[in-house]
Structures are given as structure tokens and as C-alpha cells.
Symmetry: C2
Subunit: 730 residues, 2 copies
């Protein structure tokens, strides 16, 4: 078994550790000398030089001052929390500066702080503000203590040479051992998990192990507390990403997890390059990084899948370090420089210098090389996945995100077959992301708010189908974790006609959900998304398909009533948070709804031949602490055994406020018609102003070679494979 082979290789490595010269984990003496030269260079200011000056400025504020290492008391956002967080970054940065500049004042700062932790840590018990079984000592949750271990371990290596043997002993026994013991003994079950928090924990224990030359620690880091390899860092590399680098919790969490992966792998590579850790599992860390970057909007923000905060983007500190290490270890660019350019700072290491030098070229593109991509989910790549259909370039990039993945662990949402749409850098059809104000004490100590589980994770908060006002899997995470959706087929070969289809058979017992999406470009000069969402049930249900649009209502082609007092859409599963601002009923033709997002119009046209109730909603009900953002959706409701939701999202026109013109502000969609819908085939047409689009889908087979034909009112349509598309002039 590969894991066992690696296990023994690592045992050898640890023996070699004795010969290491400190520092060697984040940077070594040679690196430090090169960095010093770069900061002294007289040429026009480089990003590295600016980052160095910035770091120096931050650290110099504390040099020569009494350092505060307070007794832990506050939750996130409170003083002691923020202080300990600031302390570990300060120690890490001061340690780097000590090596680059050679000035002992920086080492002294680290030493003093480490010695204070050596006194404090042995006295600590469960944090007073803890609300979970995984309490930290220094912080309210163990995860933050793991962060502390990673940075403090690196800082220790950076000032190792400055410390006396006695000081080292004090620190290793006082500052580090209580933390390592707490994680590997008291929190053993938490530590021995395959989960991003535990990646931090293993990296923390491993970095401390390498820094203190403690074989026991390193072994537990790599292979779990029992050192058998079923858990621990290597298993985390093997089990937390799909083969193409998708992390089941979503890109927001990849961002967070990638740092300990990269930093610990980097330290391991320095300690023993024979381990070839960066090549492990077909360079899985590189794949994880690139996949994470592909799953961003052009402004760099991560697609807000699962519990994601929208304000986070790829300029976050974690990704600065991760990109710098990746550049050093994997060499090639892959668009990393476009990201580094926006980050506009580098870590003070070898990779940071490489990036900084590369950034001196003015030939670096402004936008990451986004493309249509698919990522499988699950360690074997067989638990559904994610498709991102894209067209347009630079500012005109459009991204249709289609999620048919598994639950995504504890941070997963009940969002099977949901879509998000980005256009021109804006969220057009949005996912709420998570309800949390991280780092703000007033908002429940910066933790996930109750409204996160009660609203943000519920199905109605996503652009997907809800049956009987109940979330997928009845909102049961354990149940949801057992199942995933599956891709049926996809085809990106024609960039003007991209298609993907996926099915879910488990979100609702007895109901099969299937969604097929086309992303079209250059149709009468516009972009269109065609959205066919079918549900196949054994009985009549109420089905709701919400589109969480982002913008101001411009017009509708249907009459609606607006109530004199606002009431909620429902009583549970997230419906209780939605005010019902308007309602309408239709039973023929198409309902059209146009909204304006910044300077562009978007129209949703949906077929209403099945009797359809339409609701306009706004978040805000039953939110006594104003924890949720006030956002809107249009919900299409059909109560039927197996309704078909067939909609077109049209990206039409442009609003030029400077010249007070609006161009093409009306939809081109004139008619939507299902021509055939049975077990074998679905045929439908969409009539635009001057063009008719004809679609046919093979419902039973996606075999590329299989031939299909169907006759619609004397017209014969023939095709091979899963779908047919034809564009005709009217």
C-alpha cells in the first residue's frame, strides 16, 4: 500500500533531521541572504521590497516594548482572541526579519514572547468562551490554537539559533508540549479526522515536530496519533481532495486549508526532498490550488458555495503564501502571476522573491486565465461534482456554476443541482453564502450565526428546486452526506453552445430531479442560459424554483399583487425568513421578469403552461438581530406530479448612465414551447426576435454514438448522442 511505503520513507527522513541547520522550515540562511540583497536593490520599488517594508513597519511597532500575552478570556473579535492571533503573526514576521536583517532585536522579541507562552500554556484549560466540544486553550476553538502552532512553530525555527539550550527547553516543554499533548491526547478524536481543521492541527504538530526535532510529533503529524497512516497529513492529502483537486467543502475552504498544506509540505520538502511531497498524488496540491483559483469570480472572490463569506477573495493572506510556495515548487505559471499582481504583496521567502521578480514584467494579464472547467467531487472522483460553463473574456466573462456535488461535510448546504450566475464580475443569480460576520464580536463572537443553518444552508436559499417547502434530505446533514448528485453528460467543445446535465435521486425520496443547462453565446448578439429542470415524482407535490436575482426590478410581462402588509413565505426550512413582496398566477405563455444589475439588464423568461404561481420575496422576516442581508428572489411554484421548469436567462442590453441611454433593454425571447416530453426524449424550442432555437435531449442514453430521431409535426429531427441543438432564422 502506497501509504505504508510513504510511512517508512518518512521514518528515515526524521532520522536525517538531526543534521538540519536552523532555520530550514520557511526559509534558510541562503534564502535570507538573497532576500536581503533584493530589499537593498536600488531599482524602482519591487513588490518584495514593499512587502518587506510593510512587514518591518508592522513589527517595528512592537520592538523593544513589553509584549502582552494575556490570559485567554474573549471569543473571536474580543481582545484576548485578537491579541493571541496578532502575537503569532508577529513572532513569525519578526523571526523572518531577524534572518533577513540579522538584527537581534527581532529575535529578542520572539524569544520574550515564546518564553511568556512557555509560562502561560501549561496553566491553560478549556477556553471560557468555548461553545463546541473542540475548545481551544488560547482561543475559543481548537482550530485557532492549531493556527498558533503552525506560525509559532515556524517562528521557533527562525530564532532557534538565537536561543540558549535552556531557553529552548523551556519553550519546547512550556509553550509547545501542552498544546501538542492537548491536540494529540485530549482532542485525539478531533485531531485524527480527515477534515480541513485537522489539516491545520497536523501541520501545527508536524512543524513543531520538525522545528524541535521531535520524531514522535512528526510521525503523529504525518500518520495520526496511532502512526498508522489512516489519518494524519498524508491521508489528508489522499482523502480531502478529489483527483482533480476539488475540496468538498468548496473553494472558500480550499483557500483556508491550502495554507497548512503548502506550508507544512514546504517544510517537509526542505527537511527531506526525497519524500517528494509536492509530487504526491499527481501533484495534488498544485491541482487544489489551481482548481480553487478557477472557482473564483473575476474580482477574485470565491464562488460562495456552502458556508462561504463573500468578502473573501484570492488576495487573502493564505493564498499569498500558497501561491509563492507553489511558484517555487512547481515552477510554471498557470496564471499565478495574474493573481499575485492583484495580491500586490508576497511572502518573504524564496517563492515570494521569484514572484516579485516576475511581476516586474508589464506583460502580465489582468485577469486569471479562466475557462470552462469541471471538477469531480469525492476522493475517487465519483461523487458528482461541479461544472463551470464560461464564455466571454476579461470583464465580459460570464460564468454559470452548476453544483451536483456531495453534501460538503459540516459546512455543506442543501443545494443539490443549484446554479449561480456571474457576469461582468457581478453576481447575477446568487447563492447567499454563509450567515456570519467573522471577527466581529457583536455578531455572536464572529461565529456562524443561527441563521446560517436556519436560512443560508436551506434549499430555498439556493437556485434549485424545493419540494413541499422542505429542504433536501429534510435538512439532515448526516443523511445528505450519504448521497451525491451525478453528472449525466456535458459538452464544452463548442464555446458558443456549452451544455451540462445532472441528476439527483436522493434529495427527496421518490422524486428524481434533473437539470440540463445550456450556456449560449452570440445568439442575436446576446448570451443566454437555457435551464430545463424536471422533477419526476410518484405523486403530486408542490415544487418551488427560486432565482435569487441581484438587482432592481425593471419590468414584468405579468400582473402581480403587492400586499398591504408583509407576511412570510412559510414557516420552516428557511421560508420563514422570506417576506412575500408580490404574488402572481399564470397558466399559459411565458412569464418575463427583467432586472437591472449595475449597468446591465437580465431577463428571466419561464414557461408557465403548467399553472404557475410567482412570488417576489425579500429576506428579513424572523431575523430579530438583523443578521441576514436584505436580498431578493423570484420563485416559480408548480403543484403537480412531475412538472417541468423551462426557463431562459437572457443577458440583454446595457445601461449607459453617462449618456443616459439604455440599449437592448427588452428581452428577445418571444416564445418557449415544449414540443415533446416523454421518457425517451425532450424536445423544445425557444423563439427569439429573429431566431428560433431548437433543442432535443436523449433522456435514456448519453451514448455519444447512439442515434435518435423524433418527428415533430411532420418535421424529422435526427441526431447522435445526448443532445441536439439547432439555430434557425425565423
Amino acid at each position: 500500500m502506497l501509504k505504508n511505503i510513504l510511512f517508512f520513507a518518512t521514518c528515515l527522513m526524521v532520522v536525517h533531521l538531526n543534521a538540519q541547520t536552523h532555520p530550514f522550515l520557511f526559509l534558510n540562511k541562503q534564502d535570507a541572504r538573497t532576500l536581503l540583497q533584493a530589499t537593498k536593490s536600488n531599482e524602482s520599488i519591487s513588490v518584495l521590497k514593499a512587502s518587506f517594508v510593510e512587514t518591518k513597519k508592522e513589527v517595528d511597532e512592537y520592538v523593544g516594548k513589553e509584549v502582552d500575552v494575556p490570559i485567554p478570556k474573549d471569543p473571536a473579535g474580543g481582545y484576548t482572541h485578537d491579541k493571541h492571533k496578532a502575537n503569532y503573526m508577529l513572532m513569525f514576521n519578526a523571526g523572518i526579519l531577524y534572518n533577513i536583517t540579522g538584527e537581534t532585536k527581532y529575535a529578542l522579541l520572539v524569544k520574550n514572547m515564546l518564553l511568556k507562552y512557555a509560562v502561560l500554556n501549561p496553566t491553560l484549560k478549556k477556553h471560557p468562551q468555548s461553545t463546541s466540544p473542540f475548545s481551544g486553550h488560547l482561543f475559543w476553538q481548537s482550530l485557532n490554537d492549531a493556527n498558533w502552532m503552525v506560525y509559532t512553530g515556524l517562528a521557533y525555527d527562525l530564532v532557534y539559533n538565537y536561543l540558549s539550550a535552556d531557553e529552548r527547553k523551556k519553550i519546547e516543554i512550556g509553550a509547545f508540549k501542552p498544546e501538542v499533548d492537548y491536540f494529540t491526547i485530549d482532542l485525539k478524536d478531533w485531531y485524527d479526522r480527515l477534515h480541513n481543521h485537522s489539516v491545520w492541527a497536523c501541520a501545527g504538530v508536524g512543524i513543531i515536530g520538525l522545528a524541535t526535532n521531535n520524531k514522535d510529533y512528526v510521525d503523529m503529524a504525518l500518520y495520526g496519533t496511532d502512526k498508522k497512516g489512516k489519518v494524519g497529513f498524508i491521508a489528508q492529502m489522499d482523502n480531502l481532495f478529489s483527483p482533480d483537486g476539488y475540496y468538498t467543502e468548496g473553494p472558500y475552504y480550499t483557500r483556508y486549508a491550502i495554507l497548512p498544506y503548502m506550508v507544512f509540505a514546504n517544510a517537509l520538502e526542505n527537511a527531506n526532498p526525497k519524500l517528494k511531497i509536492f509530487e504526491h498524488r499527481n501533484s495534488i496540491l498544485q491541482k487544489a490550488l489551481i482548481t480553487c483559483l478557477q472557482l473564483t469570480n473575476i474580482n477574485g472572490s470565491f464562488f460562495p458555495l456552502n458556508d462561504a463569506l463573500k468578502e473573501k477573495d484570492f488576495t487573502s493572506n493564505e493564498l499569498v503564501t500558497a501561491i509563492d510556495i507553489a511558484r517555487n515548487r512547481y515552477g510554471n505559471d498557470n496564471g499565478l502571476l495574474t493573481v499575485a499582481k492583484k495580491q500586490n504583496r508576497v511572502s518573504l521567502d524564496k517563492g515570494g522573491l521569484l514572484i516579485s521578480n516576475a511581476l516586474k514584467s508589464n506583460k502580465i494579464e489582468n485577469v486569471f486565465p479562466y475557462k470552462s472547467i469541471e471538477s469531480t467531487d469525492g476522493v475517487l472522483g465519483n461523487e458528482g461534482g461541479l461544472s463551470v460553463l464560461r464564455n466571454g473574456s476579461n470583464e465580459n466573462l460570464s460564468s454559470l456554476v452548476f453544483k451536483y456535488a456531495s453534501q460538503g461535510l459540516g459546512h455543506g448546504h442543501f443545494d443539490r443541482l443549484s446554479i449561480n450566475v456571474f457576469d461582468k464580475g457581478n453576481e447575477i443569480l446568487q447563492d447567499y453564502g454563509s450567515a456570519r460576520f467573522i471577527g466581529i464580536e457583536q455578531k455572536f463572537g464572529g461565529r456562524y450565526l443561527n441563521e446560517n443553518a436556519q436560512y443560508a444552508a436551506q434549499t430555498i436559499a439556493h437556485n434549485t428546486l424545493v419540494q413541499d417547502e422542505t429542504s433536501h434530505f429534510g435538512g439532515d446533514i448526516e443523511l445528505g452526506q450519504q448521497y451525491h448528485a451525478d453528472k449525466v453528460f456535458s459538452d464544452f467543445t463548442n464555446s458558443n453552445v456549452q451544455v451540462v446535465s445532472a441528476v439527483d435521486k436522493n434529495a427527496y425520496k421518490g422524486t428524481e430531479l434533473k437539470r440540463t443547462l445550456f450556456l449560449l453565446d452570440s445568439i442575436e448578439g446576446r448570451k443566454y442560459i437555457i435551464d430545463l429542470f424536471t422533477s419526476n415524482s410518484n405523486t403530486v407535490h408542490q415544487f418551488d424554483l427560486p432565482f435569487h436575482y441581484n438587482g432592481q426590478v425593471m419590468s414584468t410581462n405579468f400582473k402581480y399583487a403587492t400586499p398591504k402588509t408583509l407576511e412570510t413565505m412559510g414557516k420552516h426550512d428557511g421560508y420563514e425568513f422570506l417576506w412575500k413582496e408580490a404574488e402572481a398566477e399564470m397558466n399559459q405563455g411565458i412569464a418575463q421578469f427583467t432586472f437591472l444589475n449595475k449597468d446591465k439588464f437580465y431577463t428571466i423568461s419561464t414557461l408557465t403552461n403548467d399553472a404557475t404561481n410567482i412570488y417576489l420575496t425579500r429576506i428579513g422576516a424572523n431575523d430579530p438581530n438583523f443578521n441576514l442581508r436584505s436580498e431578493t428572489s423570484i420563485v416559480f411554484r408548480k403543484t403537480k406530479q412531475s412538472p417541468v421548469f423551462l426557463s431562459v436567462v437572457e443577458m440583454n442590453g446595457f445601461y449607459d448612465t453617462r449618456n443616459e441611454f439604455s440599449y437592448d433593454s427588452y428581452a428577445n425571447v418571444k416564445e418557449i414551447k415544449i414540443l415533446q416530453q416523454d421518457e425517451k426524449t425532450t424536445v423544445f424550442k425557444i423563439v427569439l426576435k429573429n431566431t428560433t432555437l431548437l433543442f432535443a435531449l436523449s433522456n435514456k442514453s448519453v451514448d455519444q454514438k447512439e442515434k435518435h430521431d423524433v418527428t415533430i409535426s411532420s418535421e424529422h429531427i435526427k441526431w447522435e448522442g445526448p443532445y441536439y441543438f439547432k439555430k434557425m432564422n425565423n
Copy 2:
């Protein structure tokens, strides 16, 4: 009388006109030659060159094609409206290109179009979509026809030399005369007004007069249809601005009016420099421009006073031309280059070239030189005004806008003594601006929406006091137009302690409203606004003071109830548009309300010793077409004869999402106390964490020399002048 002197001087000028060589109004042959050189320059791309290329690209699309001059049919946003609008810009730009490049294809394009208008215009009657008595012919409103005259008149001058005598005659009689006659005969009453729309009309008639050498037109342009000078362009310069250049409708309208002022003045200057039109009324046009620029946020958007659209900023086309002309005529900079840098394009004239050359320097600041300013309102400067208190620089600029002006004509709002607060480029306490989607046909043809008068103009939509749920002057514009508020005193000498006070005695019969504002800096490292709003009534009333905050609720120090169904705040005067999202009651201490705007916290602390009801509201009720934005306010209500509203707006802390830290997210205000409040004196203190601020105001006299003293619990406070301020450690 000055006006009459000018009148005769102009008569002389018109006689001189005969000798003019075309073109001479927007640019002349010499200018054209210089511009050609500049566009041919090999040096790195200049703004002028880029503007030239851009203009050429736009125009070249139409060269050699059949030009469409459709029969007027649609309102704003519709095809014929947009086409005629595009046409006059196309003629103007093609005329410029003809002169710069010498290529006759551009002149031909203009000629063909002019000849089509010469056929169309004599056939036109009142526009079919007109909704006002001031209908246009080519457009739904006469104002747009005036725009057409300005640009088409300039275009005519630009291609004059290319036209045969016969063509000239056809155009002058067919295209121009019907428009001029319509304005000066049919719409005589509208034309002969002192109003920004009529500035466009006079400029249009005047430019056509100059271009066609028609003395009659020029005289009517300068002095009104009766040529007596009580109206017309000169009277508009004399009467539409206050002596320091404030335009009573607000900066959004200055932006719009400044173009015809500058363009016609420029043409007059070219025709007869002896008129010294740019020096007229102490260079009023320069003052108007600079004042308009000062009344912007650092992102360039105009303060949304009165009927203003927030998406407009100083990069609008009108201000590009205005700034280029001003630079040429007034020479000095005054920060114009900072604006031109953001505009990143210039008009193709002498001023545009000057600006473009100046922009080659990389020493131009990024931010306009904003400062605390005061503008009087009214032609004599005695109708109240506007104070803008500012501190901080660049991105950290804070602006407190205090409006105690007159009604502001038809676009005025009932907003006496209202404030707006901007900080870090964001609107913190906002004015709704106007309810309008200009240029969007679906939204009432782009016109002002009904909700503009019904909500946006009402008092409750502003950060000022509302008595008995009724707007100022009962919402009667005619009545409002008769009165203005008045400044009591102001003092900006200490940039850390700026103060202004104003009073209104007419908004509510029998009630005197008085507001005194301090903008403080560097108090415990933070900025504070102290807001003392008193009302002096002869009987008990209900008083509401709303703060239209922009952000997410973070925390309150008071308990509130949130209802299960939403109802409106009231039934009329704008209250019917507000949902009541929460309510609370307090009768002692202070109410504190913290919200987060982007990355900064703001706390409103208000004294509630008078029983105070507190409401959190959201716009959206009774808005069947979703014409309003969903925005929020906190309303403090006191029902009393003469209540005092004493509040502190604290700008506290910073939310660092990258590092997940929040700094100083709690308010420092601990106590607010009124120590004395009588006819003669108001004394109050504000206790912060470590500092106490003591304020005293002389209510009866603002004489700088007058001495005041008061004894508060054995402490003697003495001062001279209208106010006293002292900062003490706790």
C-alpha cells in the same frame, strides 16, 4: 444698469459677426491644425489622441451609410428618442473630425443629416409622448430639443464651409427656423424663464444665431424674446447662481446646466472677446464649476441633493467639455486636472489639448482638493445655503453636508436642515436622491417616477426633523419656494473642531427648528459628529428624526421588538413607503445603534431622556412597480412641545476581512447629558471612554465679541462668541 450696458455691447458684437470665418464657435481652423498635429504625434498615447481615436471609431461606423432621421414617436429610452439624441452627437463629432482631418466624408455625413432634418422639422407638431405643457418636437420634452439645437448649431458651423449657399438656406429655413420659432413663439413663456432648461434653450437659439449670422436670434438668446434683458442668457448668468456659484437646484443640476453656459459663452467669446463673457459677474461660470466639483464625494458622485441621480459623477460628458473650456478660458488649475485625470478623455478642442498635455505629468494628485466650504443660496446670497464640513484627506476624507438652503425650484426637496454624511468615499447617512431611471423606457419612459414626489422629495426621506408626519410646508412647493433657512454661525478655523448652526422658522408654522453640528477629529483617535437638533413649538407635536443609515445592523444597546408581519410607518407624506421593521421605547440614558458600512463601523448614540420611540424602517411598501431602492433608516420619535434631539455619530473602528480582525468596533460614547437648556444658553457634555467633551452654545447672540458665562454645579464656564468647546481627560 449693468445689464443694459452689456446689452448694447452685444449689439455691436452682432454687427461684427459678418466678418467671421467658419468654423469659429467650438473650434477654428488654427485649432484644428494644432489638434491634427497632436493626433499625429508619435509619443506615447495621449488622452487627446485616445479621445480622437474613440470619436473617430464611433463616427466611422456611420460614414457612408444611410442616416436615419425617424419621425418622432417614442419617449426617452425608445428608439426615435435615442436616435435623434445619437444623431446630434454624431453631427457634432463628425463636424469636428471634418475640420481636424480635412476629410469631406465627415462633412457629407453632417450635410445629409442636416438636410433630412430640414425636411422633417417643418412637419413636426407636439411630440406624441408629451406629458408636460413643454412638449418638444423631436423629443418628448422641449429640453431635449434644446440639446439638439446646441449640438446641431455647432455642427452647422463646423461644416458651414462645405455647404453650398442653397444647402445653407435649406438647413437654416428647414432645420433651424421651425425649432427657433417653436421655442421663441409657441414656448415663449417657457423660453423666457430663469431656469436651467431655458439656459439650454437660449444657448441653442444663440448658437444657431451665431452660426447662421442671425442677429435676431442672438439678441433673443442673450436678452429674451423681448430683447429687454430681464430674461435670456445674461440674466440667467446673473440670476441662477448665488454669488459664490451655488445653483439652487443643487450640484447634480449644475452639472447639467454648466454645459450650455460654457459652450455658449465660449462661442460668444470667440465671436466677440470684447464682451468678456467669462469675466461676467466676477467670473461666475468659474465659480459655478468649482463649487459644483466641491459638492462631490471622493468617487466623483454629486451630493444627491434635491432630484439627483446617484450614478452621475464628474466624469459625465457635460463636465468633460466644461472643464476643458474652463481650463482654456480661466487658465489656472484649481484641481481641474485631478478631475480630468478621472474623466480620462477630453473634448477635441483647444482646452482639451491643454488638458491632455498637462495630464502627461505624473504629478497630478488622485483626489480633487476638497476642503470645508460654504455656499450661499439665492442670487444675492441671502437665501440660506449649504455648509460642507470636512476632515481627513484622500481616501479618509469625511464630509458632513448641511443644507439650509431655499427650496431649489421644481427639483427641490422638503429637506430643510437635513444632513448627509460621507466617509471613505461611501454614503454613510444618505439622501435618497431622486426616484428615476433616466433613459430606461420601462421605467415610465425614463421620466421622474411618481415615487419621486411621493417619497424621495418628502421630508421623511431626509435626515431632518418631521413634525406630525407631515412634510415641510405641507409638501407645497410654491409655499416652500417662498422661504429659506438661515445660517446662525459657523467656524472652520480649527480643523479638529468645525461647527455650523442654522435655523428654520417657516417649514412648520409656529415651530422653530434649529440644528447645530460639530465635526470633530482626533478625539480618542476617532471622528465624531455632534448633532443638536432643537424644535421650539407653541404646542405639543410628534417629532421624528430619521437617520438614513447605509449598512448592516451590528448591534444596539436597547431591546426592540420585530413584528411577525410588516406594516407601514404611516399613511402619507412618504411614511406610506416605509415598512416598520422594528420598534423600541426608551426614556433614559442613551440609545446606541451600530452599523457596518463596508469595512467601517458607525455608531449613532442619542439621548433618550425625553421619552423616545425608536423605529427601524425599510423602504418598499406601497411601491407596486418596485421603483424605489430598498433602503433603511432609524427614526427617533419624541412627542413633546419642544424636544431636544442630541446625537453623536461616531466613526469607530475598522473591519479587516482579509485578516478577520475588527478593530475598535465598539462605541466610545458612554454618556450624553444636557446640563443647561434655556433661551440664553445650551450646555451639554459627552462622556467618552477616556475623555469628556463639554459644549456650550449662546442661543441669543452670535456676536464674536460678546461674553458669556454660566455656572453648572459650581463650575464656572466662560467664553466669548457663539460657542464654547473643551476637551478634558476623564
